[in-house]
Structure formats: structure tokens, C-alpha cells
């Protein structure tokens, strides 16, 4: 390409740089890219990627009923004949009736297909033991990230000291800083208490708020429950404390509950923020403003590629909701197949229906695999010298803490990378296992973590743990040899 007017081009580049900051390529992305390259002359045959929550990528099977319904919706000819079970065929007919022109290929309303919104509202009401949910407060999105961005844009304003700040847990979900940045709001971290199983403590919220003053104007608090990446599941009491804090400090609650299907710890159940809010009485239930998010990708269905999720707005002015709708209009609607899968997610087969048995069995098998994997991985990790891990209650990942040997720390410093990034890079190079690095999730100075997705086939997990163990012990050995020698 001839650059006939270099000065024009250069100034354009500089302009872009000054507006957008440096290009964002996370260490994880480079690692993932590397993971997809051909592996020649390596001691391993195949790279195993457990750095992201993509259970299908990791070999978990989709649920039959969902896929049968989607196939029928895509190609309604399948309704004739017996390719699909009877209840799947009926569901296809119900769903297509709600699509324009009876086809999944038509445009849908920006906030989602009406019957999907209703089914979601009914699901929420059932889940929350009768606390009512209305379809006009439900917005179907192309994933929880998109919905979160819409609400953030409504909250975003000001610059410098008056810029909207959002309190966020540390460690945070990997993509959160980028989402906040794109929306133009400031991240105000509140550290989670690692030694207490990554519990959320109100003291830390107060501390964060104090720190925010003089930097930005906090207007919202983001919660991840069950926690990503920590897997912590909040108790009802903890949720009440957060709600009280939000009420006192007039903060908007952004509640990411996408892992609500993944709770397996003994003695801890998921209870939604909405339910707790409403059961706290009118003083709170009529005033605290909240957006809660769920997603097809992180639900038990794990259908990341379909791109669908929803958000429920609570106690938000109708005028403001109109703006939310407008923002959704500026964006695109969630893909229709995703919306239909969402409908199946919130309205699965019921006892007595033909597909119920299979569906129940598939879900149970999936959930058992998750719980067993969690236990197995946890036991393996805490058995490694220099590794500790909080007991897991939920979510789909483990977030062990690393105490890296000093020699590795020195190497990391020399290479100018975080030591957990170096560790994960070496693990990938030597054993072909791709894990996440804690530095992408925010962590206290001097503490290092790894993130492993455990929603994989059991044999895959065994392989991962075996390679990780082998790598870790070898690394410690090399380092101690080096120290001795």
C-alpha cells in the first residue's frame, strides 16, 4: 500500500491512539491465539484450553431438547415425521407462532420477542417463590455484557471528579474493566476476603467508597453472585447487608447472577437479590434500584454461541426504561435462535412430558460432573506445594492462589510480566494447558492466582490436572536445583 500522504495518515493514527488508548490485547488473548496454532515437536498432542467458560469447547454435550427445538424452529419441515419428539414439535409450533412471519429469520423487537419476555417473567416469579416479575421490565439482550453496557450508559456521566464510578469486586470478571471503560465509567475496586472463601464484606464496601471520594462519583455497585472468578455464593444475610449499604449510599445495584444454575456447595443455596430485596420490606423493596442479569452462555445450557441473555430492571422510572429501550434500539436485537433457546432455558420440559426424563438426566449428569470436577480439582490443587485454594461452592471455575518460588518471581520481573502470566505461559509451552492468570482479574499487590474452568469432560479434567501437577512439580524442582546449584 502506497502511503502517498504520510502526514495525514500519521496524524490519523495519533488521533486514534489518543482517543482509544493503546490497543487492548490481553496476555490471555495472546495465549489463546497461541493455543490454536499447530503444535509440532511438542511433548503434548493437543492443547487443552480451560481459560474460558466455554463448556462446549471443552467437550460437554448440549442438551437434546434445546437442540431439537432449535432445529425444528430453523427447519419446520422437521415437524412432519418423527425426527423430533412430540413435545419438542409442540414447543416449536408455540415458539414460531410468536415470530413474525412464523420464521426465526425475521427481525424481532429490540427488547426481545414478547413471548420470550413473558416466559422469562414467569420463570423469575417461580424462582423467587412468587415475588412478581413483569414482562415490561424484562429486556432480552445478546448476552449479559450487552445488557450491562446499556445500564452503564444510562448511569454514565461527568468527567474527572464527577465521572460516574462503579464499585466492583476484586477479583472481577475478566472483561469487566473493558465493559466499564467502553461505557465511560470508572472502576472502584472493593476487595473480597480470600481467607473467608472470598466473602464480600460491607467494611470493604465502605472502604472502597471512601477511596472513591476525590477520584470520581460512585453511582452504582456491581455484584457477581455466584462470584466470577471466585465461585463464592452469598448468604442471604450478606445480600441483605449489601442491599442496606446500597440503600444508605444511594447506589444503583448491578447484579450479575449468570452463574445461578451452578451452585453445588453443601449448605449454600442461590437466592436472588430481587427475592431478598422484596422480602426485606417496603422500605427497601420500593426504593432500591436494581438491574439483574442472566445469560444463556453461563446457564446450565452453556450455549455461548447462541448469544442471548436478559436483564430485569427493578424500581426504575418508566421514563428511564424508555431510554433503555431506545439504547437497545440503537443496538441490535438478540439473535432469534438465542432468544428461543432462552425460552427453553426458562421453561424446560415438565414431568409427564416425553422429553422430561432425558432432559432431567442430562442436566443431572452435567451438574454432577461439575460438582465432582470441582471436588477433584480442589483436592489436587491443595495437594500441590505452594498452592492454596478456597473451598468451592459454585460457579464453573477454580481460582487457586499461587506462592511462586523467588526464582520465578525474578524471571517474571526481568521479562516485565506478571508472575502468574509467566506461569500460565510456561504451562502452555511445556504442557499445552491454557489457564487464566489472576492479574487479569485484579488482585492485591503481591498475590497471584490462576483461573481454571472445571466444566469440562471428566477425562479432560483429569488430563489437565495431571499435566498441571507434572508441570508444577517439575518447576519447583528446577527452581530448587537452580538454587542449590
Amino acid at each position: 500500500m502506497l502511503v502517498s500522504e504520510p502526514s495525514i495518515r500519521m496524524s490519523f493514527v495519533q488521533d486514534v491512539k489518543s482517543r482509544m488508548g493503546e490497543p487492548r490485547v490481553s496476555p490471555q488473548e495472546s495465549l489463546q491465539k497461541w493455543a490454536t496454532l499447530k503444535v509440532e515437536r511438542k511433548p503434548f498432542q493437543k492443547v487443552i484450553d480451560v481459560s474460558s467458560d466455554d463448556s462446549h469447547r471443552a467437550g460437554m454435550k448440549p442438551f437434546s431438547f434445546v437442540r431439537q427445538v432449535l432445529a425444528g424452529c430453523l427447519y419446520p419441515e422437521l415437524l412432519y415425521g418423527d425426527s423430533l419428539p412430540q413435545d419438542a414439535r409442540k414447543r416449536v409450533q408455540d415458539l414460531l407462532r410468536g415470530c413474525d412471519g412464523g420464521s426465526v429469520g425475521s427481525y424481532s423487537d429490540s427488547a426481545g420477542l414478547l413471548h420470550v419476555q413473558s416466559s422469562v417473567a414467569e420463570f423469575i416469579t417461580r424462582r423467587d417463590a412468587g415475588v412478581p416479575s413483569h414482562s415490561q421490565n424484562i429486556f432480552i439482550s445478546a448476552g449479559s455484557q450487552q445488557a450491562l453496557t446499556v445500564v452503564l450508559k444510562l448511569l454514565a456521566r461527568g468527567e474527572g471528579l464527577s465521572q460516574t464510578g462503579v464499585l466492583a469486586p476484586q477479583p472481577w470478571p475478566r472483561t469487566l474493566p473493558m465493559v466499564l471503560d467502553v461505557a465511560g465509567v470508572c472502576l472502584v475496586p472493593y476487595p473480597l476476603h480470600e481467607e473467608q472463601g472470598w466473602a464480600l464484606e460491607v467494611d470493604q464496601l465502605h472502604w472502597a467508597l471512601q477511596h472513591a471520594r476525590g477520584r470520581c462519583h460512585p453511582r452504582a455497585i456491581y455484584i457477581s453472585n455466584p462470584g466470577n472468578p471466585t465461585g463464592h455464593v452469598q448468604s442471604r444475610q450478606s445480600i441483605e447487608e449489601v442491599i442496606q449499604f446500597a440503600a444508605e449510599e444511594k447506589l444503583f445495584l448491578l447484579v450479575d447472577e449468570v452463574y445461578q444454575d451452578s451452585v453445588y456447595g453443601k449448605g449454600r443455596d442461590f437466592v436472588s437479590y430481587k427475592r431478598v430485596l422484596f422480602e426485606m420490606g417496603r422500605q427497601y423493596s420500593k426504593t432500591v434500584q436494581m438491574a439483574s442479569f442472566h445469560s444463556l452462555s453461563k446457564s446450565v445450557l452453556g450455549e455461548c454461541g447462541l448469544r442471548a441473555g436478559y436483564m430485569e430492571l427493578v424500581n426504575v422510572d418508566p421514563d428511564v426504561m424508555l431510554f433503555a429501550e431506545t439504547l437497545f434500539c440503537c443496538d441490535i436485537c438478540a439473535p432469534v435462535p438465542g432468544q428461543l433457546a432462552l425460552e427453553v432455558m426458562v421453561r424446560p420440559p415438565e414431568p409427564g412430558e416425553v422429553s422430561y426424563g432425558t432432559y432431567k438426566q442430562e442436566v443431572l449428569s452435567n451438574r454432577n460432573t461439575l460438582a465432582q470436577n470441582a471436588q477433584q480439582a480442589w483436592e489436587c490443587l491443595i495437594g500441590l506445594p505452594g498452592v492454596s485454594c478456597q473451598p468451592v461452592m459454585g460457579g464453573v471455575s477454580l481460582y487457586p492462589k499461587l506462592s511462586p518460588p523467588p526464582a520465578l518471581m525474578a524471571q517474571a520481573m526481568a521479562l516485565q510480566v506478571e508472575v502468574d502470566v509467566l506461569y500460565s505461559h510456561l504451562l502452555l509451552e511445556e504442557e499445552g494447558v491454557c489457564v487464566g492468570a489472576g492479574s487479569e482479574h485484579g488482585q492485591r499487590e503481591g498475590s497471584y492466582h490462576l483461573r481454571l474452568c472445571i466444566l469440562t469432560r471428566p477425562d479432560t479434567l483429569e488430563e489437565v490436572l495431571s499435566r498441571l501437577t507434572s508441570f508444577h512439580l517439575r518447576l519447583l524442582d528446577q527452581v530448587s536445583q537452580h538454587a542449590l546449584g
Partner: protein, 477 residues
Amino acid sequence: MTLLREINQNVRRIMPSQLERLVRRGEQLREELRHGVKKPYKNLMDVFWGDLQGGGVRPLSFVRQVLAACYYPQLVHSDKLPIDVRERAQALLGACEGGSVGSYAATSGMRHVQESVARFICQRDGGVPSNPDNIYISTGSQRSIMKVLKLLVHREGSPPTGVLTPVPGYRSVTMILEAFGAAVVPYHLREGPGWVLQTEELHRALRATEGSCKPTVLYVINPGNPTGHVQSRKSIEEVIRFAAEKKLFLMADEVYQDMTFGKGQTFVSYKRVLAEMGPPFSHTVELASLHSASKGFMGEAGLRGGYVELVNLDPSIIDYVHTLFSTDAGAPVSGQLALELMAQPPRPGEPSYPIYTQETQAIRAMLVQNVGRALEVLNSLPGVSCQAVEGGAFVFPRLHLPPRAVQQAQEAGLEPDLLYCSRLLEEEGLCVAPGCEHGQMEGTHHLRISMATSVERAEEALRRLTAFHLRFMEDFS
């Protein structure tokens, strides 16, 4: 207590469009009909969206068969589907992570899809090469436009970034520009004859900005929406020369490229013309060209698949482009697969080819008939004139409204064509888009009517419109 009282100015500036109010009213009426409320019509007819399937036209069999097999791979082994369908599904599943459409796909697009699209573009453009690395898959053309504009528009810029935008054009793009804090610089397409793009008008539009903004982007739509005009090669060359001279980034929305049926003009892409103009243009003019699976014969708007091909972008910008396209979790797999099937349809000799050809030809014939019939009917109505349509999915007739009608609209604080459309909706249950939605010369009024529907429905729409129009003109004479 309302925390969200003070909303960001940029969000406030985005007004719910006139069309949305009309659509909402349409939904209300539909509900009323469902509850048995008596109306002068039995059902509501929407003829404003340009997607075929919304208009009741069936999707292409090959596409849906492949998709069904991808979603429910058991079908790959069933003999209910033709062999080429099964083979294509297998190939596509092989390109998905973990062999499942449920996995996340790479953020800028599945490699396989990028390659298929690049091959399609090269073939379309008579051999002009296309690099898969320059193809970015998104959830649709609107999203692609947003990403490109994000790269180019300086949000807090002083003076603001200027984007030359066709009038009439897309309301949604204007909304995006407003949300981004860009300055919309309108250039008017010349209605008679045929909504041509005249470079004198581009010059005028640029001069009129007089330093109030920094013109950076020239946005063109070809084939035109809502106009249906298909640019000649000569016209495209003139636009390219203008962009080169004024150092503007060309953003070419070409989503209706499949749907051309005028006797005169066939579609030729901006990229091809640019390449065939040779240096210096071919090496320097920066171009983004957009396409989508939502329009054209595919009409798979619900699946959400589109792409943008970036041409001549400075290599040092590419990292930023990549970042921009990775801020989402990636285009849905459904949309990516739809794009692949759009780019690589069945070929002669393959089992699905005859049916595929038959179906696409039937759609084309339907459009040609609908457009012909619409022009005939519209041009025979008093106070209506309509330009010839060469492509796209719409007719965009002009209403020459009686002064009393215009006056009444002004008194009601409405655009006259919106008043017309509202009354049309109430009295005949027919929903069409008003011209004010798309922008038009001051004092002119239009309607946008979708022709992407069956011949029978189009006929019914024209009947209802005719009945209403004659009454309307009578009332206000």
C-alpha cells in the same frame, strides 16, 4: 427515589423515532384485534420492514436444512436431508470449537467464515483479491457501522467529526451518529430522475459545513435504501474521486447488492471499481464495505450476521480495529453460519442447486412483479409520483399533499407524512414508514413501502393504500 434522573446528554439526544411510535401503535391495534375489538379491517399489515421473512416469504431451504443439521447434528446421519446439506453441515461443525454451535466463536469471526466470505467477494468482483484478515464478522450491518464510526468519530472532538450522510437514508445510522457526538452532514439525493447521487451536491454539502465540523467520513448506500437506486460505475468513480480529493473515509453500505432487478443497472461494488481505477486511488482511498445476511434473498434478519471488509487501512490501525471488534463476545454462531451459506450457495451439479435456484428466482420474480405493480398503481393515483426502482426492497413514492393536510399536520405538531401514515394505520390497518423517518427535502413528503412480500399481500397493501389515499385526498381537497 430516582437515581437515574440525570441521564447523559448523549443518551438524551437520541429521540425515540417517529417510526417507533407508529410501530407501538401498530402493536396496540394488533392486541385490540386479538381481543375481538371491531375494526374496519380483519388484520394488521406491516409493509415497512424490508426483510423477506417478516413479509411472509419462506426462507431458502438449503440454508435452513444446513442450519438445522448444525444445531441438531443427529440429522447429519439421517437420510432426510440431501447429501450436500449434510456435507456442508459437517464442514461447518468442524469449523466450530468443540464441534458445537454452542461454543464461543472467535471475536472477529470464525476463520472458515472469513475465508468463505473472502472467496465470495473475489468471485463477485471479477478476481479482485480479498484478504480474509480484512473481513470482520459482526452481528449485522448496523453493528459494523457502529464499529467503523467508533474508529473514526472523535466523540469529544472540537469541532465535531463530520459524517456525510445521504438524504433519504437510514434513521438508525443518524441515531448512532447522534449518540456518538458526530456531526451529520446531509447530502441530498436528487429525486427526479431516479434518486441519483450527484457530486455537485457532495461539494455543496461539504462547503456548507464551513468549518463547523471536521468532515471525515462519506457514507453511501448502494443500492439505495429507501430509494432503490443502483449507482452506475461512472457515478461510483466520481464518488471515489471526491473522497480521494477531500481525504474522506468511504463507508459503503451494500447490503442490498443481491437485489437488483432494473433493466439498466447491475450492481458493481465500490471495492471493484476502486481496484479497477488503479493507482493512486486503488492504493490510498480507505474504504469499509458492508454486507449482511439480513437482506437480500437470505432475509435471515433474526440470525444476526454481517461483515465489513476494510480496504487500504493503515496497518498500524489494524490493532485498534481488532480491539474494537473484540469488545463483544463475538457474532453469534447462527449469524456466522448464515453468512457462510450466503457466500457459498449450492453450485451447479450439486443436489440442492435446482431448488435453490428455483427459490431465489421465484423471489426475484416476485419482487419485480410487486415493484412493477406498485409503480403502476402509485403513479396512477392523484397526488402521488414514484421514481423507477432498480434494486432494494422498497418503493419510495412522493406524496403531493393538499395544503390543508399539511396545515392540519403542522397544527398537530406532526410531520405531514407521519399524519398520513397514522391515519392509514388507523383506518386501513396498513403500516408503512413515513418519509420523515428517512429524511427528505424540506416541504416534500414520502412513504416507504416494502415490496419484500408475496404478490397477494403486496396487492392487498396497494388496495388498502389506494382506498385510503382517495378518501384522504377527497377529505382535504
